[in-house]
């Protein structure tokens, strides 16, 4: 296991280097730059733009800029945002908490409910409940999140006034109950869509498990249906779900841009889009590297979980 982890770490480092190089290259090759945002409104002359570009070191060669960025990155300095001067790590930290609140709660809810619906649908295949859940899942997957979000706002915030229209907190409050109150609508909308995904995956995996020989054997042995499902089918059906768990890692941190936009949620998705729009290179690169790390970590954890869940799999 130790050797395996070491080997994976080296592979990950090389991959990270590659991701950073390509990401940095694409960002710098794209036309425009961090100062373009000021051109149409601030009355800055070209000489002002050129002067500041030079002061920021943006007129240096790509290689020099990349190596400098890499050197600082390795030393733990992820740089500062071009927009407000805040360190990239602080910036990410301040946005990651709202994102985690939103994503973790909605994902856990979706996983629990989705897996439950999936198992039920597979065990009671073609039942009314199964048909309804399949149709519901198709509906949830087909309708854009922003529409769901706006409908939720319309009915539950504007018409019924049960929940706020958006934002993470009431300004001046920010207590836990206040945050939870603001979380209800966005979490519900996100969980609804995610539940459909989990339910579909789980139903499919469960159906496959239920058709295996060992299930028939278990039934032939006279085990109760409950015992067959819980002890044999679900455990095996959960194996493919590990992949889904691994894939969720970067998504959890990446945030949900549409939901964050509709509900004015100050999360990572919005930070990434804003940073990209304003060509805030250090922040974009910071998020890119973090996402790459989380993707690799998610994949590694999934691999390890496979070994734990299925003794037939060996780490080598």
């Amino acid at each position: 296991m130790a050797n395996y982890l070491l080997r994976r770490s080296w592979q990950s480092l090389i991959l990270l280097l590659l991701v950073s190089f390509i990401g940095f290259g694409v960002l710098h090759l794209a036309p425009g730059g961090p100062l373009s945002q000021f051109v149409p409104s601030a009355g800055m002359a070209q000489e002002d733009i050129d002067r500041i570009t030079h002061q920021m070191g943006l007129d240096r060669s790509f290689a020099v800029q990349y190596l400098e960025w890499l050197r600082l990155m390795v030393s733990g300095d992820w740089g500062n945002s071009y927009r407000d001067g805040i360190s990239v790590l602080s910036k990410i930290a301040s946005h990651i908490r709202p994102t985690l609140e939103l994503m973790v709660i909605s994902t856990v809810l979706a996983a629990l409910i989705g897996c439950g619906i999936g198992v039920w649908g597979a065990v009671r295949r073609y039942s009314v409940m199964d048909v309804l859940s399949s149709v519901g899942a198709m509906f949830a997957l087909s309708i854009p999140t922003f529409w769901f979000g706006l409908m939720a706002i319309y009915f539950f915030a504007l018409e019924l006034s049960w929940f706020p229209v958006g934002s993470r907190t009431t300004i001046g409050d920010g207590s836990v109950p206040d945050i939870l109150y603001h979380l209800v609508l966005p979490v519900s909308v996100l969980a609804l869509v995610e539940t459909a995904v989990w339910a579909q995956f789980m139903r499919s995996a469960m159906l496959e498990a239920l058709q295996q020989d060992y299930i028939r054997t278990a039934k032939a042995k006279g085990l109760s249906e409950r015992k067959v499902i819980w002890s044999h089918a679900i455990r095996n059906a959960l194996l493919p779900m590990i992949t889904l768990v691994g894939l969720q890692f970067p998504i959890l941190l990446g945030g949900a841009l549409v939901a964050e936009t509709v509900f004015s949620w100050p999360g990572m998705g919005r930070l990434f889009m804003d940073s990209l729009e304003y060509r805030d290179y250090p922040v974009v690169m910071g998020i890119l590297i973090l996402s790459a790390i989380m993707t690799m970590l998610g994949s590694l954890i999934a691999d390890i979980l496979y070994v734990v869940a299925d003794p037939r799999i060996r780490v080598n």
């Binding site: 373009s36 009355g43 002359a45 070209q46 922003f146 300004i171 509709v262 100050p266």
Partner: protein
Amino acid sequence: MDNFTKRSFLKLSASSAALAIAPGLITSSAFAAGKPDAPKGQVIAGLSQEPTVFHPLMPGKEVDRGVWWQLFSTLWFVDDKGTLVPDLAIEVPSVENGGLSEDGLSWKVKLRKDVTWHDGTPFTAQDVKFSLELINNPDFRAGSRIGHSLLKNITVVADDEIHWQTSEVFSPYISLLAQTFIVPKHILADLPDPNKSDFNMAPIGTGAFKWGKRSAGDHLLLEANKNYHGEGPFLERVVFKYIPDQTVQYTQFSSGEIDYIGLNGIQTAFEEDAKKLDGVTINAAPLAFIEYIALNLEFGPFKDLAVRQALYMGMNKQARIDIIYKGRPIGAESYVPRGHWAYKDDLPAHVYDSEGAKAILDKAGWIPGPDGVRVKDGMRLAFTTSTTVGSKSREQAQQFLQQNWAEIGAEMTINNMPGAVLWGDFWQKSQFDSVMVASTFVRGGDPDVTARFSKKAIPAKGGSGNNNYQYQDDEMEELLVAGTREYDQEKRKVIYHRIQEKVREELIFLPVQQSVIVEGTKEDLIGHTPNINSTSNAWNMRTWYWTT
């Protein structure tokens, strides 16, 4: 909220797919009795862009400037009537009061003695000297040095008086100073790197509000400065809330969660619904933004004045304003906004006449080719028009124009791109054919457009400025110089009238409209006043107050 109908909601849903961004700002309402004795209540302002630059001498956008106006002060500012009003200075220097020498080169500015920084340190002339020198510090990332680079011999005569000279007469400088915020020397003087400081993230100013708390990506809270030297503040707190999606922003306004919509105002699609909301005031306010089609005058067909005239005559400006913008903007013929002291109101009015446009092109030798597109000397009358992706109204306007111009035999292709790309080398180095753009030509209320139309201001030819059209004309050059050498407003008016005539006659760009913003505020929020002379309609939040 009672009037937030299902129909309006469907419209709202349909348009929310686009996360558009644009510029603009605020409202009106006459001042009434009832200003509180002490700061009371808070205002939540919804902004579709996030303020992120808090050092007021660094490059910033309108949204940042809206915050600077609350935190900092200028020596004087331009009010909504175009008058320079002293702020940190006791009076605006002029030849009459002895603040300005007869030759216009020496300045004497007397300052208030009762001003303190938010940390309690007294404000002095040293702060003014430091601020002006910081702008010219080669290591400092100053937003713009226009005018400031002419300064020399800055001398602090006393704590409340400062003198300086300029290397040449530059009358617009008085207006530029109306937008130059003064920063504290005692905080910034000893920094090893003038660009990096805690000040940039929690500034200290002399404005009516002081820094409270910022939640990055969400909101910024400012608190009343009870030691403010001027009128107000009458609000305890001001919150700038970042809501990137305009549909969501409007929804929050209609539900009462935000008190006024700033920067972009209310989208045209929601305007009628907004008027039906209870307890809010909806106002349309002209902005200094002129929307126009910038032409690259070095691009083949656009070198020909006849083409420019035909394109202008062939575009149905009024229909565009009426259909796409619901009649909100004001048709424009000049770069100077209506109501400005330099505005020339008798410029030839635009006439939409596609037959007339065809006749102009025929006469100039542009003959329809086999595909209907006109050709002259082997050159097709075909070009691209660009604007920022996601600007829905402009994208509709482009399609409108495409049809208009196709009728007269001009082929226009839409080539839109993200703002960061459009405003990069593509615009700055004049790589475009034509661009649909809105901008303010009158900086600080001054009509000087040297940076726009001088041949020395063409970036694509190594010049310094914003003459991205690559316009060159000797008479214009003389007029521009004359305008910056003259302090007398009546004499300047004559010069700038002639400049406007030339811009209109030669169609350096195709003027379309003066932007009008529709803004909403709670009806019991009093004091906000649109100001086309300011970079932000939030310029006077210090005098806003609640009647309830």
